[in-house]
């Protein structure tokens, strides 16, 4: 048993920390998010040069062969910088789906390009009606000779605007909410019948709705087996949930530190407001919430690294606690900054909004708690 990072993992973490320090002051971040792509391509090339884009891929594909611990080390630091570059969408989601697809030809054709930074990817899993249910899929895929024809609309696709290729979940059989009968297709975003509308979310990320009208996809562009895409989705969402919660942890730590520093400098009634016990106890609550979130993250990472039987339960617990503790820390950070906490000029509100989006992604704390209850009950 150990909770230390390896030397290699520490170096990886340090390289992200340095990048955030040198290249990612708050004004740069604001400009990156506001750009047409929703991120800065120069930074993306830096990620490629530093080898970060290769982290989850195996060595046979030129990857780093990293696991949950490596991803955690990187994401925690990216959270501190509020990095908007689509590392999660392209590398962890899109790349993760390729990894778990078992389709060697698709892997050979695409992983290298993700690693060298030339390919942007996304995963289109949501639809207007689906809320947090990954299996609620109305988009259809009908066999047509050696091809499939896709029709439907996917929504709130992270990095959907910049992506060259998108993995789409579509129904090949079964009812609207059945886990069986979902198939994953790899499509080009410039293919005929693909129509994208992009918009921004409160955390600055650029997302897209993707309308599919008779989009023709060859059968060799299926990830995994026809009708059996759901288990791949579940496995990738589990991995990415850990990554998101690591990012959230970095944000929680940053907000706590920022708040403590602010109360030490802010004077009211002739003294620093950090001297008030009522505020000290609130900051201790923030600290404890962050430490507990860190512990449950470590727990989930250990479970993922060892392939534990109760991984799903650990991940649900992680998502619940990250959502709730993130809310506590975010609310307190704004409260203790007083009126300044409400200004767009200050970075605090932007960190809080990212925490809020992370809470929503893949199901909020209430949704995940229900899942945890079901897993505990059986």
């Amino acid at each position: 048993m150990n909770f230390n990072l390896s030397e290699e993992q520490n170096m990886l973490k340090d390289s992200v920390t340095r990048f955030v320090q040198d290249e990612y002051d708050f004004e740069s971040r604001r400009a990156n998010a506001a750009s047409d792509l929703g991120f800065n391509p120069k930074n993306w090339q830096t990620f490629a040069d530093l080898g970060w884009l290769s982290i989850p891929f195996d060595e046979a594909h030129g990857g780093f062969g990293g696991g949950a611990t490596d991803v955690m080390a990187v994401m925690e630091e990216m959270g501190k910088g509020l990095v908007v570059e689509p590392f999660i969408a392209t590398v962890l989601m899109f790349g993760g789906l390729l990894n778990k697809s078992g389709n060697a030809a698709l892997q050979d054709a695409n992983i290298e390009k993700v690693i060298d930074g030339s390919l942007q990817g996304a995963f289109a899993y949501l639809e207007r009606q689906s809320r947090f249910e990954l299996a609620d899929v109305k988009t259809t895929a009908k066999a047509d000779g050696n091809d499939f024809l896709l029709n439907g609309e996917k929504t709130v696709v992270s990095n959907g605007a910049a992506a060259n290729k998108v993995v789409v979940s579509a129904r090949t059989s079964g009812g609207q909410c059945d886990e069986a009968g979902i198939t994953l297709f790899l499509i080009d975003t410039d293919a005929a019948g693909v129509e994208r509308t992009s918009y921004r979310l409160m955390d600055g990320q650029l997302v897209a709705n993707i309308k599919l009208t008779d989009v023709r996809v060859a059968a060799d562009q299926v990830l995994g087996d026809v009708d059996n895409g759901y288990s791949i989705i579940e496995a990738v969402v589990a991995d990415v949930t850990i990554a998101l919660c690591a990012e959230a942890l970095g944000i929680m730590q940053k907000l706590t530190t920022t708040t403590i520093e602010y109360t030490k400098t802010r004077q009211q009634f002739g003294v620093a407001i950090s001297s008030f016990q009522a505020l000290q106890h609130r900051m201790v609550d923030m600290f404890m919430a962050g430490e507990q979130a860190k512990s449950i993250l470590y727990r989930a990472v250990c479970a993922a690294e060892s392939g534990a039987d109760d991984l799903a339960k650990n991940i649900a617990a992680l998502k619940v606690m990250t959502g709730r503790n993130g809310k506590l820390i975010g609310d307190e950070a704004i409260q203790l900054h007083g009126g300044m906490g409400l200004t767009d000029e200050l970075d605090v509100g932007h960190y809080v909004k990212r925490l809020m989006m992370i809470n929503t992604t893949f199901g909020d704390a209430d949704f995940q708690q229900k899942k945890f209850n079901q897993l505990s009950h059986t």
Partner: protein
Amino acid sequence: MNITFSAEELAFRDEVRAFLSENWTEDLATRIRGLDDEFKAAQIEWQNKLNDKGWLAPGWPVEQGGVDWSVTENFIFETERSLAGAPDVVPFGLKMVAPVIYGFGSDEQKKRFLPRILKSEDWWCQGYSEPGAGSDLAALKTKAELDGDDYIVNGAKVWTTYAQYSDWIFCLVRTDSSGKRQDGITFLLIDMKSPGITVNKISSIDDHHSLNEVVFEDVRVPVANRIGEQDKGWTYAKALLAHERTSIAAVADSKRRLRELRKLLAQEVSGGRPLSEDTQFQNRLSNTEIELMALEFTELRVLASTADGKGPGVESSLLKIKGTEIQQAIQQMYMDLAGYYSGVIHGEETAETIGHAFGHDARQAYMYGRAATIYGGSNEVQKNITAKYVLGL
């Protein structure tokens, strides 16, 4: 980063399981839940079984009869112990005064006291709190004045758990009040049979007797029973407080209680349906379980940093606060689960005639459980400590 067990660690786990299944019997479990003498005898019997195996004193130096488990082995033992429902040792001798004795005591004191603690021949209690010194421990006033080879002790200690069973009490006493409050405190080991000691029972809201007031009137204590130097007692005691806070968290015991609670919820019914289907209960259970799953790893992180030689430091306050909040949340769920029966006081009538078994125990745990957020330095004081020493406020 991982928590996988090596082959040796898995073998150790099997050994712990075998030991527990042989030694932690139904009969012993029944007797240890009893009152007064029955409880004390059963607790000693259990501790002796652990001692015979050499597992009573993890953390003690091996040459003093301790066992040098790794963090992982300690974790395995605690997990298995709690799964089996076996209780922790009574901490006052084994976990509280012993580290002070082997850490700061003389060779003579080690020889005299440690073997008797291991054999449970001496039962210890803790003389820290006073009527005027609770969470503000350094305000203590019980006075010790040197008179030849003895100290003469006068004053009173309060909230002294198990003083009525105890052979010895370890005390913080004031030997100098001229300087900083922390500077004039001395650590004394006092024989409870000394003339001038009176133990007064304090009846508590749980209908049990565990708390006492211990009054000292001209009690003579040989200088040989002083730990380390005069006026330096605060330093010795402080090292202990972090350990105390860590063990108060009682993570393994909360895991066991939560597991039992889930079983009870499946048995109890409301409107003909098991309460385990009630979404309110499900959410309360998972709120607590998730917090506990995290705390288990917080504890492991603290233990791992202890193993790296960094000591259970100021993070122990977090363990104490969260651990006791979880305990109280669990106690509350037992109470609510018991409903009307949480009010029942067992006397002549048995669970069979009343028709319900756990209400009385649930209330007792709930009532006494109020103490957990108060003792060991109240949770509010723990927040002050964290604000000052961890957050630098």
